[in-house]
């Protein structure tokens, strides 16, 4: 089972890929999203997303500001105003 993860900025679609897990720094605390997560919406504090491509791999960090996360049937969508790769 893989989680479909999309990272979108106003200028372009930055990522659209299948990953194992993403840890998101929500405004009310960090949360990890795995495949099959319940529908969920949250604003994101400015910080780093941790993307785990595989279960035991090292996370890849993507710093974002002005973010918003939505978890639905289609997977996790993160809308961010600015992304630093």
């Amino acid at each position: 089972m893989a989680l479909h993860f999309e990272l979108v900025t106003p200028a372009k679609l930055v990522r659209s890929e299948d990953v194992h897990m993403v840890v998101v720094p929500g405004t009310e605390g960090e949360f990890g999203v795995l495949a099959g997560h319940a529908p969920f919406m949250s604003t994101i504090a400015d910080g780093a997303l941790k993307v785990y491509k595989t279960e035991n791999g090292a996370p890849e960090e993507i710093r974002i500001t002005g973010g918003f996360a939505e978890v639905g049937d289609a997977g996790l969508t993160v809308l961010a105003e600015h992304v630093e790769a």
């Binding site: 106003p10 200028a11 405004t27 529908p39 969920f40 919406m41 949250s42 639905g72 809308l79």
Partner: protein, 292 residues
């Protein structure tokens, strides 16, 4: 009748004008492609955000406690017209069309006894609006420093607008820009941006599962409203950029064609007068020979 030398000079000058317009046309065509691509890649974000706003708005009833950006100030006395123009000319009636739409709206609002203020983006519309409404321009946002207006500019504009709105400087803001239909057609469009028109509640997707919100719906909505505004302005700037290039391309195509016509006409005139001069000379020679 112009002399041969004068005609030749004019033909050459029109030819070099044609070279310039042709070059500008090709530049505009290349830039148009780029602007269209930029507009294309901005679509996913705008679509997602609109979707989220729609589903949030369908859960919340607008009341007095709603964020002011959504509910309005409760008055509609002061209108702010945000007019987005380009920085460069050579694009036909592009800028004047937008300004005309804004002026028509201003007249209409003033006839209703409302106060009208202007917020100008881009350099080209300034002169006209300044002449007619010298005291009503709140701010002229300068985009000459950047090559293309991007999200950073949209962000600055939105932040300034929200700050002014919070200070109660205006009640309703309209945005004027040209919507890109095709290289031939750009539609001057006006759109209310503040208070944010409630997005149409989209079809609720995601099945029966109840979505959880963190923080509460209202707080999320309050956080998203300024972003939604930024996206709208960004979208308008992108549309404007594409429209400008489209208009420029069409205008320059026409100019190139006109220059070609003019060159043909001048060439014919040039040849005629050359022939006339030759004929006169011959007649003189023959008349001289006969007289002997």
């Amino acid at each position: 009748m112009a002399s041969l030398k004068e005609l030749k000079g004019r033909i050459n000058s029109v030819k070099s004008t044609q070279k310039i317009t042709k070059a500008k046309q090709m530049v505009a065509a290349a830039k148009l492609r780029k602007a269209q691509a930029a507009a294309e890649s901005a679509r996913p974000y705008a679509a997602r955000l609109a979707e989220v706003m729609g589903s949030l708005a369908s859960k919340i009833t607008v009341s007095e406690n709603s964020p002011k950006l959504l509910a309005g100030t409760g008055s509609d006395q002061v209108h702010l017209l945000v007019v987005a123009n380009s920085d460069k000319g050579l694009c036909g009636a592009f800028n004047s069309n937008i300004v005309r739409a804004a002026r028509a709206k201003a007249k209409e609002l003033e006839a209703q006894g409302k106060t009208v203020l202007f917020y100008l983006i881009g350099r080209k519309g300034r002169a006209v609006i300044k002449r007619e409404y010298p005291k009503q321009i709140v701010h002229m946002f300068d985009t000459t420093g950047v090559r293309e207006a991007g999200f950073n500019e949209a962000e600055q504009v939105a932040d300034e607008l929200v700050a002014m709105y919070d200070q109660g400087k205006f009640d309703i803001a309209h945005l004027f820009y040209a919507k890109f239909r095709s290289a031939l057609v750009q539609e001057p469009t006006s759109q209310q941006i503040i208070p944010v028109p409630a997005p149409a509640a989209g079809a609720v997707k995601g099945g029966d599962a109840v979505t959880e919100y963190e923080p509460e719906e209202e707080e999320i909505l309050a956080a998203l409203l300024p972003r939604y505004l930024k996206t709208q302005i960004f979208g308008a700037l992108l549309e404007n950029a594409a429209s400008e290039q489209g208009a420029s391309m069409t205008a320059m195509d026409n100019a190139t064609r006109n220059a070609g016509d003019l060159i043909n006409k001048l060439t014919i005139q040039y040849n005629r007068s050359r022939q006339a001069a030759i004929t006169t000379e011959l007649v003189e020679i023959i008349a001289g020979a006969e007289a002997l």
